[in-house]
């Protein structure tokens, strides 16, 4: 019991010794990261290039009024197919892990 | 009066598909009779009138997709009760 107390005391002394330096390094790196993020957002509007968005806006509105559905289901329908297959995979895996073969409660397979 | 058939047909089909899975428990302590389905239909009519039609649809002042979905659900429920007895 006393040996455990002494080893706990030794570890506490070492944590207290390095705690100040760890806090200083953590705060400096957080400040640098925050400065980098804010520098990205400064003057952001002049850096954006519309690109394909002008083509979609000019040619898409006679087809359907909803621009989001136009991009998701008409110009980029192949990506939506991939997303639907991700949903299938997720449901199958959840039922495999948590089903244990008793999804509809047919517990007569125990007999 | 020209009604647009798209939401009516597909709303009724989807409601029918889900309605065949509904059957209230007969020995439960809450009994849902035919009168309660009529009240559900009247409440759905009021909600459909408040929602209004889809944009660019200029045929009728209620939301036809909503009301056909509810009708499909109720008809599917009655179909299941009639097939069981």
């Amino acid at each position: 019991m006393s040996n455990d107390d002494k080893s706990n005391n030794v570890e506490n002394i070492e944590d207290n010794d390095y705690k100040g330096i760890r806090t200083l390094i953590l705060s400096i790196s957080t400040a640098l990261f925050a400065l980098t993020l804010f520098d990205v957002m400064y003057g952001f509007k002049s850096l954006i290039n519309p690109g394909i968005s002008k083509v979609y806006n000019a040619l898409g509105t006679p087809i359907q009024p909803n621009m989001v559905t136009l991009v998701v289901f008409d110009w980029r329908a192949y990506d939506t197919l991939g997303e639907a297959l991700i949903l299938v995979t997720a449901v199958v895996i959840v039922l495999l892990v948590f089903g244990r073969g008793l999804v509809e409660g047919n517990s007569e397979e125990d007999e | 009066m020209l009604l647009y058939l798209g939401p009516i047909i597909f709303g009724f089909l989807t409601g029918l598909l889900l309605g065949t899975r509904i059957n209230p428990n007969p020995e439960s302590d809450i009994k849902f009779t035919i009168g309660s389905y009529i009240i559900i239909f009247i409440a759905a009519l009021i909600v459909a009138w408040q929602i209004g039609p889809y944009p660019f649809y200029n045929d009728i002042a209620i939301s036809t997709g909503f009301i056909s979905g509810t009708v499909g659900l109720i008809v599917g429920n009655l179909l299941r009760i009639m097939v069981k007895t």
Partner: protein, 163 residues
Amino acid sequence: MSPILKLFAFPVSFIIISLGILTILGGHITPGGGFQGGAMVAGGVILCIIVYGINNSPIKFSHDFIAIIESVGALGFVLLGTIGLVFSGFYLYNVGTDFYGILSPAFVSMFHYPDPTNTGIVPYLNIFIGLKVLVGLSAVVIAFSQFERIKNDDSDTSVERNK
């Protein structure tokens, strides 16, 4: 659950499911679409499961129903794309509005959704995705709610084995 909840949950689930069907069918005009509408319908089904319990719930999805509807949803999406591939050379080509003008007008008018807009196959894609999502989310909640019952059964059998 108190009697107020049991009296209230079944009619309200009708309204919630109908709102979900409205969101699915208006995917090409209003915000929403297949994914969002399917989640709303699943919300109505999950309300009934939680209030009444898994055994007495009015809305019961059996295992066969879940498997069939999910397969129909995914296969419908893939087969609509294959129609575009066979008749025009592009997978998931919108054969309802012929954007490049390479199909015959008689074939294009076959896919017209009866509507003032001219969108092609996009409402059908929304309906198939909506079916898939509603069945998938309900299946997860049904599996989780039956997991509690399995835990009770296991404790009973372990007590019997100790005897």
